[in-house]
């Protein structure tokens, strides 16, 4: 299964972004192979509907699980509809690497 993690930058050393719709980057982790890919979020500065678009992007990228700091109501509804698992991590100062390692165990 693929997991989407919101990130502030395009590398593993970047810190975890606690926003979902307006996260700067999305990191896709493939749990089988352990590979990560980064995608820039085009809707960082959108005035509205960023959460909806992010949810669409999540489904498009084939992620079954999203890790972020919080989800807006629209994003929540959509992700629920598409049976995407939402995960909230509230810790500060995490890097993408930390989270990836936690998932790998």
């Amino acid at each position: 299964m693929k997991t989407l993690i919101t990130s502030t930058g395009g590398s593993l050393d970047a810190s975890f972004d606690k926003r979902y719709g307006r996260a700067a980057w999305f990191c896709i982790l493939d749990e089988q192979t352990g590979k990560t890919e980064f995608f820039e979020n085009e809707n960082v500065n959108a005035t509205g509907g960023a959460g909806t678009k992010a949810a669409e992007k999540t489904v498009e990228l084939g992620a079954g699980k999203v890790i972020s700091g919080d989800f807006g109501p629209k994003a929540k509804d959509l992700l629920e509809k598409f049976n995407v698992q939402m995960v909230i991590i509230e810790e500060d100062d995490l890097t993408i690497k930390d989270i990836v390692e936690r998932i790998k165990g």
């Binding site: 997991t3 629920e80 939402m86 995960v87 936690r102 165990g105």
Partner: protein
């Protein structure tokens, strides 16, 4: 007055309205009413193979309460089989869970989508999870 029952959290309601015996000659009387929370208890304990403590946390009740719900569920199923009765799924004291679980190991909060088969923490795989109150 008896203390009101706390609502039990049911992650997914049963996928059936009931079960009916067939090939029987004297089907007797009233159906057995299996409550949603009893179905859920049976599922968590015997299908997902959780222990009672883990399962009780998923349902947001104490371990002892979970054990009682589970016992009732088993007795009802046994009763239906032995006395050749229909089983009917009834709502009971449940609320359907669209909300969140929390992992006591890594503090991540997460949802369980309908298609998911496991209740473990998606981050650290711990089964030490409970309902967010």
């Amino acid at each position: 007055m008896a203390r009101p029952k706390s609502l039990r959290k049911v992650v997914k309601p049963p996928g059936f309205k009931g079960y009916k015996p067939y090939g029987n000659q004297n089907a007797s009387g009233s159906p057995v009413e299996l409550l949603y929370e009893e179905y859920e208890a049976l599922k968590l304990a015997d299908f997902d193979l959780m222990n009672h403590l883990e399962a009780s946390r998923v349902m947001g009740v104490s371990r002892a309460t979970f054990a009682r719900i589970y016992e009732r569920a088993r007795r009802k199923v046994a009763l239906a089989l032995v006395e050749v009765k229909e089983i009917k799924a009834v709502y009971g004291h449940a609320y359907l869970d669209k909300s969140w679980l929390i992992c006591n190991n890594c503090n991540a909060r997460f949802t369980i989508p309908q298609t998911a088969s496991e209740h473990n923490c998606p981050v650290c795989r711990s089964s030490n999870v409970e309902a967010v109150k």
